[in-house]
């Protein structure tokens, strides 16, 4: 479905992502894990059309999307739920969700997506008239994901959804992600919570200073020496 080939990205002259390749297939949940500054967000933003590649290409469902802008990427079927949520805080929960459905013109479809999101996160429905900025951290993250779902994505990219949440909420949130996958959504997940992210993933990639140092299915990676040493302190 999504395929990156030898992608290189730099900020100015500083190379940040150094020739990485990976792919996501239909219906998969893929986790990319790595420490702070490894380049996870950079990769997500490049796919989302925010950053230019220095080299390499990005292909989505048979089309070259390397040079598309962010608004066009959404229309191709990829939604990026950005790091730090980036909600429209003075607006209500429901308004945030409506804006998430900006590319959809059919009112019935928007209604349907809204019901889907409220079904997945009932707490959002209870608070739908509340200003997004006044939600708790966990609710804000649900809203960020919900807003991403409103565009009917074929591929959902989540950038550290567990950031700033207490452990119990992390589990709850990643369970929701897993449930989405079970409902058939294809998901690319970036996480620093290595253990949990790899547990729910079909496959994973480990990123270190802009390079993929190892890959494999979730369980394999959790058992691998590299991951154990680098992230799990074993």
């Amino acid at each position: 479905m999504l395929k990156l080939e030898k992608v290189e990205i730099a900020y100015g002259i500083v190379p940040v992502v150094q020739g990485i390749s990976f792919h996501v297939e239909d219906g998969e949940l893929i986790s990319i894990v790595g420490a702070n500054g490894a380049g996870k967000t950079t990769i997500m933003k490049a796919i989302a059309g925010r950053l230019h590649l220095r080299k390499g290409s990005i292909n989505f469902r048979g089309k070259d999307i390397t040079k598309l802008s962010s608004p066009d990427i959404v229309r191709m079927g990829i939604t990026y739920v950005p790091e730090n949520r980036r909600l429209f805080t003075p607006l209500s929960v429901e308004e945030n969700l409506e804006i998430g459905a900006y590319i959809i013109n059919d009112k019935k479809e928007i209604e349907k997506n809204l019901e889907f999101v409220y079904g997945l996160f009932p707490r959002l429905k209870e608070r739908r008239k509340q200003r997004a900025g006044t939600l708790s951290g966990g609710e804000q993250q649900m809203l960020a994901i919900g807003r991403g779902l409103m565009a009917n994505p074929k591929l959902l990219m989540l950038d550290e959804p567990s950031q700033g949440l207490m452990p119990i909420l992390v589990t709850e949130l990643l369970n929701a992600v897993k449930k989405l996958k079970e409902l058939g959504m294809t998901i690319l997940l970036v996480e620093q919570n290595v253990q949990e992210a790899l547990e729910i993933a079909d496959r994973g990639y480990v990123l270190q200073t802009g390079q993929i140092i190892t890959e494999g299915n979730g369980k394999e990676l959790l058992d691998s020496d590299i991951v154990k040493k680098a992230f799990l302190g074993m």
Binding site: Y102, G133, A151
Partner: protein, 288 residues
């Protein structure tokens, strides 16, 4: 007492015009974080359009309004697409100088084309007519009607921004253009829309003002200074803020103006400075 009431009501009426002028400035600032120094020149062009419609084809200033609005929209769009869009790539300071340059460009172009003469529209449906409010206050129709139109314009713009899809997209861009782009919203189009609304509303203000104000290429300066204070007082980017702040400034200006005309803008800005000490974000800070 009647004298005091007169000052208050005419302050409110004038203030509503200040609000309308500030509306576009605050929207452009809210969406793009850019100060449009040429805003007063947009107003001036709106006034000239109304003037020429009147002189050349005998159109009453009231019926000239659509032309002033259209001119403002075109001017806003042209400014955005031909200049501002390119300024965005540069540093903040380039944006300041850019719209400052645009201000001088339009002003001196107007001076070149139309000359420095003061012009006035001398006949109109509203001119020289007045109504009595409660037998105490005399209201000048040439100011009452513009004030009402200003209120209507605020209603329409607020409605569009708060209740339509494109209005919400505009707000999203104002709040976080990057996040909005991930929702499929083209920032470029929203910026252009902000300039169109900004130009259209200030063009409308210009068309209304010829009913009671003279027209020269320099006329924008005075009003843009008031508009800056209005936007800052109301809260940058706040539509509601522009509305109330315009009225407040209008009242202060007329009250002081009655006693000490040459002092009134000093007081307007002094009032602004005092309020800003307590509320730096203005009366209605919109973003948090």
């Amino acid at each position: 007492m009647g004298f005091f009431l007169d000052a208050i009501t005419s302050g409110i009426l004038m203030g509503l015009i200040f609000s309308l002028i500030a509306l576009g400035l605050t929207i452009i600032f809210g969406v793009m974080n850019i100060v449009n120094f040429a805003h007063g020149e947009f107003l001036m062009v709106g006034m000239y359009i109304a003037y020429w419609c009147n002189v050349l084809i005998g159109l009453d200033p009231l019926f000239g309004l659509p032309f002033s609005i259209a001119a403002g929209i075109l001017l806003g769009l042209a400014s955005y697409y031909l200049l501002v869009r390119y300024l965005l790539r540069g540093p903040m300071i380039a944006q300041l100088f850019g719209t400052f340059g645009l201000m001088l460009f339009i002003r001196y172009l107007a001076l070149f084309i139309w000359g420095p003469n003061f012009r006035t529209v001398s006949h109109g449906l509203l001119m020289g007519k007045s109504m009595l409010l409660g037998n105490v206050v005399v209201l000048d129709l040439s100011k009452v009607v513009p004030a009402i139109v200003s209120i209507i314009a605020f209603f329409i713009v607020s409605y569009v921004i708060n209740n339509t899809k494109v209005g919400k997209a505009l707000q999203a861009t104002a709040l976080d253009a990057e996040a909005a782009s991930y929702m499929g919203i083209y920032a470029d189009r929203m910026n252009a829309l902000a300039w169109a609304i900004g130009g259209g509303t200030v063009g409308l203000a210009g068309g209304l003002m010829v009913n009671f104000w003279y027209i020269t290429p320099e006329v924008g300066l005075l009003f843009v200074m008031i508009a800056f204070a209005t936007v800052a007082l109301g809260g940058f980017g706040s539509i509601k803020g522009a509305f109330y702040a315009g009225v407040i400034i209008g009242v202060i200006e007329t009250l002081v103006g009655v006693k000490a005309p040459s002092f009134k803008f000093t007081i307007v800005y002094a009032a602004y400075f005092i309020i800003v000490v307590f509320r730096p974000q203005g009366l209605f800070g919109w973003k948090e």
